[in-house]
């Protein structure tokens, strides 16, 4: 009970800090501009092992509907992660670079609540950013007079599903970033990891042709979801892999925080 209260207090503190950070609004602004540019110019691209050129060509040539916008944005979401990396730095990076975690831990919060609250804050802020990303394309498309491209319920469900999928995948990469940050105390090393990880996985998957890597090729998976190439039942192993990875990262971060000299 007390731990729940501590965690809620920490979430409130982090929320306060985020909404008073210029970086948060800059990140949100960048995401909105990026989304608007993609929607306006119909230019899509990102990190992907399976180029799916046919789908890309079809997208680039077609008269975009709002659904096409959603798909185009999903394909471009791997680059979006480099914009929201600022949220990782503001939420947890500063705690370590400015050593304010001492104030946080002395306030009586347990290590587990600290790590969990940081992950939840990241999850919420990423969700807000991705929602802004998709809302922008919907609004922009309506302004440009584009049609829905699907029934409204279908469009909305695709948007929400893709939004949640991308948020979850980015949060998994960030949870690995948290682990590296806790172990190394270096915001630089953890940020480099976040940047390199998706490219690394995609590159190795292409070069080595290791099929199992598709389960941690998060953006490849979200592209497949968006293009309708991955059914819900096929999606289960991805969710399971993510769940295990998330659990391992949180537990290792916790163990590392308990054992290290802070």
């Amino acid at each position: 009970m007390n731990e729940d209260v501590n965690m809620i207090n920490q979430l409130r503190a982090d929320t306060y800090r985020l909404i008073h950070s210029v970086g948060f609004y800059v990140t949100l602004g960048l995401v909105i501009v990026y989304s608007a540019l993609i929607t306006k110019t119909k230019t899509v691209g990102g990190i992907m092992a399976n180029g799916n050129e046919e789908s890309l060509d079809r997208l680039a040539r077609s008269n975009w509907t709002i659904l096409d916008g959603i798909r185009g944005l999903t394909i471009s979401a791997s680059l979006l992660m480099y914009m929201v990396i600022g949220l990782f730095i503001i939420t947890i990076g500063y705690e370590f670079s400015q050593q304010t975690y001492k104030n946080t831990l002395i306030s009586g919060i347990s290590r587990s609540s600290f790590i969990l609250s940081k992950y939840i804050t990241l999850l919420i802020t990423i969700f807000i950013s991705i929602t802004a990303y998709f809302l922008t394309t919907i609004i922009m498309s309506l302004i440009l007079g584009r049609s829905l491209g699907a029934s409204l319920p279908n469009l909305l469900s695709t948007s929400v599903l893709t939004d949640i999928t991308i948020t979850f995948f980015i949060s998994i990469v960030f949870s690995m970033g948290i682990l590296i940050l806790v172990v190394t105390n270096s915001i630089v090393i953890s940020s480099i990891f976040i940047v390199v990880f998706p490219i690394g996985v995609t590159t190795v998957r292409m070069l080595a042709n290791w099929k199992w890597l598709k389960y941690i090729d998060f953006f490849g998976a979200s592209n497949e979801v968006s293009l309708g190439n991955l059914s819900i039942s096929e999606f289960e192993p991805y969710i399971a892999t993510c769940g295990v990875l998330l659990g391992v990262c949180i537990v290792l971060s916790l163990v590392s925080m308990r054992e290290k000299e802070l």
């Binding site: 007390n2 731990e3 209260v5 501590n6 207090n9 920490q10 409130r12 503190a13 306060y16 800090r17 008073h20 950070s21 210029v22 970086g23 500063y94 400015q98 050593q99 304010t100 001492k102 104030n103 946080t104 831990l105 002395i106 306030s107 009586g108 919060i109 347990s110 308990r258 054992e259 290290k260 000299e261 802070l262």
Partner: protein, 307 residues
């Protein structure tokens, strides 16, 4: 019986091969202002980090407000601390930084932050970003973080580092006020021993990771009294001579030492007086009364004992 706030029991700590703490034990009672004294690297900060769980405990046990090491998250909520350099979010202002701390601690009172800012003397800097504060102002902000939740136990590591003389006086008054008005128990370390002497009610001396001695201020005042220590062959005869010559006050320490509690006597005249009256004077030492002198002598004795 006075409540034991902190029970530090046979705690050892190693960093690699370096023995930072070697079976250190001491207690802090409610209402104490406990001055922790030791050279750089003696283990003062390590003790504070262990208490606040910033450093993991491997050997020994620590009890805080009666709760044991493994499970004193609640006891930590009654504790405020400023360890090493104060840490704040650079891009947030003084008041915003304090709001973050208030939210972390679940503080609802709207006046608590303003009161704390005023208490530490940062009223004119409330809207200044932390990155633009001077070292002394950052120190005050760190202190504000520590006292905002009105802790029952306050841990301060070198709190007057970087403060100007008026700042030092203000911090001294502040600690006095916290201790007397809010009954806050305080553990404090400082290199400025004169300051530590003025605020503390009890002192713990630590040297090379070992806990050497603990004294109350009264005991310290008795031990560190300034004067002249005489080493004589016959203390009875010597005391008669001193008494008849009105050299007072003095106290007999043992069967060959007398301590004259007057540091301004002419030592030449004093030795002549004793010798002329048939007292063999084997030695005469002038003792200074400062905490620095006491500390230096204690460390010297400890080092000689170790050899």
């Amino acid at each position: 019986m006075t409540e034991t706030v902190l029970d530090f029991n046979h705690v050892s700590k190693k960093f690699g091969r370096f023995q930072a703490l070697d079976s250190v034990s001491f207690q802090i009672k409610r209402g104490d202002i406990y001055g922790l004294i030791g050279e750089n690297g003696a283990g003062k900060t390590t003790i504070m980090k262990l208490i606040t769980k910033i450093s993991p405990l491997r050997t020994g046990s620590i009890s805080l407000f009666g709760e044991s090491t493994s499970n004193y998250q609640q006891a930590l909520k009654r504790t405020g601390a400023m360890i090493e350099s104060p840490a704040a979010f650079n891009s947030l202002t003084v008041i915003q930084n304090l709001k973050v701390i208030a939210k972390q601690n679940g503080i609802q009172s709207k006046t608590a932050i303003d009161d704390t800012i005023e208490f530490v003397g940062l009223s004119k800097k409330r809207k200044t970003k932390a990155k633009h504060l001077s070292l002394g102002q950052k120190q005050r902000l760190g202190l504000a973080f520590a006292i905002l939740p009105h802790p029952d136990f306050l841990i301060l590591d070198e709190p007057i580092n970087g403060l100007d003389p008026s700042g030092i006086i203000e911090i001294r008054k502040l600690l006095y006020k916290l201790n007397h008005e809010q009954q806050t128990t305080i553990l404090i370390s400082s290199h400025i021993l004169t300051e530590l002497y003025q605020v503390s009610t009890k002192f713990g001396f630590i040297h090379h990771g070992k806990f050497i001695k603990e004294v109350t201020k009264e005991e310290l005042d008795k031990e560190k009294e300034s004067g002249i220590l005489l080493d004589v062959d016959d203390v009875a005869k010597a005391s008669e001579v001193l008494d008849s010559s009105n050299v007072k006050p003095f106290s007999i320490q043992n069967d060959h030492s007398i301590f004259v509690k007057d540091n301004h006597l002419n030592t030449g005249n004093l030795s002549q007086l004793l010798i002329m009256n048939g007292v063999a004077l084997n030695g005469m030492t002038k003792q200074e009364g400062s905490l620095e002198q006491y500390y230096t002598q204690l460390m010297k004795k400890t080092d000689e004992g170790e050899k």
